[in-house]
């Protein structure tokens, strides 16, 4: 296989592609008006809650509570965002996370001797983490291969893998949950480092790494190219199958990290935990400006959108509103942001020929 850097396409494809790629790389690295708008919304929300909740909202304790809550949804949203950028979707993230958590929990609660300590404890924890890692790697490779080889839409493929993975978890556990993990696992989600929870530190590091992967590496540019036009990318000499497998492996490995943090937070693992997060991760990614048709989207936008969702949730919680009202407001926020974008688009494109409807619809695989 000839590896070609996407920055240096073969001369035969001409300057057009070269210029387009330069523009793509430039948009990947540069900021966008979208991000500015989201930041403005975040600041406005902060100001509103600070005004509504004087003395209680802008407090270190509130900020720390937000940092404790953010990482699990954050990591899962990252796991959803990468397939979205590649023009796909991974509906199996929650099922994958739960199964990884179950496997690690099974090793730690039934296989590990209860009196294990010191070196022995470390060995068992490393073993459990490695097993979870391998499981997620396997799930990612299989999902990626099915997507790449059958050409079926990733929504369908992951609908199948989600049902299958969830089915295996339920079959093996009979719907029971596993609880009671050793101290070090609980520490990850409950201890702080310089005032920040370890889980938050992990999330920030992973988000930065994903940002770097998507914007600074050839692989990241290929993922964006696949999202824009799979066939064109294939004809320009990129092994799209390998890139697709990489996308779903990355997505599944992020689920592994989310599994570790969720085990620590809930001190339990089960087949049916956190199902409601699935659609919220899509909501967060779209709100963060990740294009559902694939090809565009920045991790920075996603992080700001997660901060917005978390601010709404914490603020409403402090105001004494129900959790359910928060969910409704998240939905409204997404619709409102979409509407604002649409109006901005219409104004921006006002003097150009009307954008055809087909460009506003997905091009199905």
């Amino acid at each position: 296989v000839i590896e070609r850097s996407p920055n240096a396409p073969p001369a035969s494809l001409g300057r057009g592609l070269d210029a387009q790629l330069d523009r793509l790389v430039a948009t990947l690295r540069g900021g966008g008006s979208n991000l500015a708008g989201l930041l403005l919304l975040l600041v406005a929300l902060f100001a509103m809650f600070a005004w509504l909740l004087p003395g209680t909202f802008l407090r270190p304790a509130t900020m720390q509570a937000m940092m404790f809550q953010l990482p699990e949804l954050g990591l899962l949203s990252l796991a959803m965002a990468i397939p979205l950028v590649s023009g796909g979707l991974n509906l199996a993230i929650i099922a994958t996370t739960n199964q990884a958590a179950l496997l690690m929990a099974w090793i730690l609660t039934t296989q590990m001797p209860p009196d294990a300590g010191g070196g022995s404890l470390a060995f068992w924890i490393v073993l459990a983490l490695a097993a979870g890692f391998l499981l997620c790697l396997l799930i990612g490779v299989v999902t990626g291969l099915i997507v790449a080889l059958t050409g079926a839409h990733p929504i369908l493929v992951t609908l199948g893998t989600q049902t299958l993975i969830g089915g295996v978890s339920i079959w093996l556990t009979r719907g029971r949950t596993l609880t009671g993990f050793p101290e070090p696992i609980l520490l990850v989600a409950n201890q702080t480092f310089l005032g920040m929870p370890y889980s938050f530190v992990i999330f920030v590091v992973v988000a930065l790494a994903m940002h770097a992967l998507l914007t600074r590496t050839p692989q990241g540019v290929r993922i964006h190219m696949i999202g824009s036009n799979l066939e064109a990318t294939r004809f320009s000499g990129v092994d799209t199958r390998r890139v697709l497998v990489g996308v779903y492996v990355a997505s599944s490995l992020l689920c592994w990290l989310a599994a570790i943090i969720m085990m620590g937070r809930f001190n339990s693992a089960g087949a049916d935990i956190a199902q409601s997060y699935l659609l919220i991760t899509i909501l967060a990614a779209i709100l963060g400006g990740i294009n559902p048709y694939g090809g565009f989207g920045r991790i920075s936008g996603l992080v700001v959108s997660l901060a917005i969702l978390q601010t709404i949730s914490s603020g409403f919680n402090l105001l004494g509103f129900s959790q359910h009202l928060t969910l409704a407001l998240w939905g409204l926020t997404l619709l409102a942001v979409m509407a604002v974008k649409r109006v901005a688009d219409a104004l921006h494109l006002g003097h150009r020929p009307r954008r055809s409807r087909s460009s506003a619809r997905p091009t199905p695989v």
Partner: protein, 332 residues
């Protein structure tokens, strides 16, 4: 032989039919109870709600969209109808009519938002599903309604047949509603102007709008139709379980979607038929029932559905790709 295999696998419906016959043979040989009238009747009744919802989802899929708010819509309409029936003593026709009308209205909201915001319908419906469902739980506080009127919960039996073994096979209300919905949807999609327009729009939205199809009206119709069917499905679901629980339908979105997809509807739009969806439901129902009768744990069922979906999309994906390739070569 290869051409026979190609013929069978070429159309999703015939491939499904072949698999169903095969599965049916295996189960009827291994369990004497499987191929009895009463078992079949129970099976159909158990899958009535899924089939009604899948019929609506099919229409949306053919139009090139996805809707995952229908479970939330069904919960909302079911609850409103139950409130009207219990608090104000509304008669059956009013409660059911209200459920369908409200369902249509909520569906139309999805259609209009998809049309005007020009975003993927999956995004719009994720947002609206969160809003509908969250507001329902917020307003009702998750309270169940148990004291449904008799006309709602009484079992309606149109026909009762005593089988040779002494069991009864009953033709019940859910089955009749399901059959009516299936026939109506089939006629809508194959015999009406609107049905052809939905296929055209799903196949190529640009071309459809250029030949003068009123796209906004079509979107409202498609999502409204699913909404109305969700209202009906909510009614049937409450009829079967004798109570209204706001969270009961939650989480069924993806499994109904899976059924429609198994039946040959594609996410790209423009493809799929009511017959295929019925076969898809039938296959899943037979698998679940047959495995139960064979004594396989019901916990194992998720594994079977997952495998069925993966095999089905892999086969259709690969044959589809081969056919596309052939199309590309032929004109040259």
């Amino acid at each position: 032989l290869r051409s026979v295999i190609g013929l069978v696998l070429g159309r999703t419906e015939s491939a499904l039919g072949a698999v169903i016959i095969l599965v049916g043979l295996v189960f009827s040989v291994s369990s004497p109870y499987f191929l009895t009238l009463s078992n079949a009747a129970d099976l159909i009744e158990a899958y009535a709600v899924t089939t009604i919802l899948a019929a609506g989802v099919l229409v949306v899929l053919v139009s090139g969209g996805i809707d995952i708010s229908f479970a939330a819509v069904a919960s909302v309409t079911q609850y409103v109808a139950a409130l009207v029936a219990t608090r104000y003593g509304a008669p059956a026709w009013l409660a059911i009519g209200l459920a369908c009308a409200l369902g249509f209205a909520l569906g139309a909201v999805n259609g209009l938002l998809t049309h005007y915001l020009r975003v993927l319908s999956i995004i719009v419906t994720i947002a609206t599903a969160s809003i509908f469902y969250a507001l329902l739980i917020y307003v009702t506080d998750g309270t169940e309604i148990y004291n449904l009127p008799d006309w709602w919960t009484d079992r309606v039996v149109f026909l009762r047949i005593e089988t040779a073994s002494g069991d009864f096979a009953r033709l019940t209300l859910p089955m009749v509603i399901m059959a009516a919905v299936v026939i109506a949807t089939h006629l809508l999609m194959t015999r009406t102007h609107a049905g052809r327009q939905i296929y055209a729009f799903g196949g190529n939205p640009e071309a459809a709008s250029r030949v003068g199809i009123d796209i906004r009206r079509l979107q409202v119709l498609v999502y409204g139709y699913l909404g109305a069917l969700a209202g009906l499905a909510g009614f049937v679901q409450a009829h079967r379980v004798h109570q209204v629980v706001p969270t009961a339908m939650f989480g069924t979105e993806l499994s109904v979607l899976a059924v429609a997809v198994l039946g040959g509807a594609t996410l790209g739009g423009g493809h799929g038929s009511m017959g295929g969806v019925v076969l898809g439901v039938l296959l899943l129902a037979m698998l679940q029932n047959g495995l139960n009768l064979l004594g396989v744990s019901s916990y194992f069922f998720g594994v079977v559905i997952g495998l069925a979906i993966l095999v089905s999309i892999s086969v259709t994906g690969m044959t589809g790709r081969r056919m596309r390739r052939r199309h590309r070569i032929e004109p040259a």
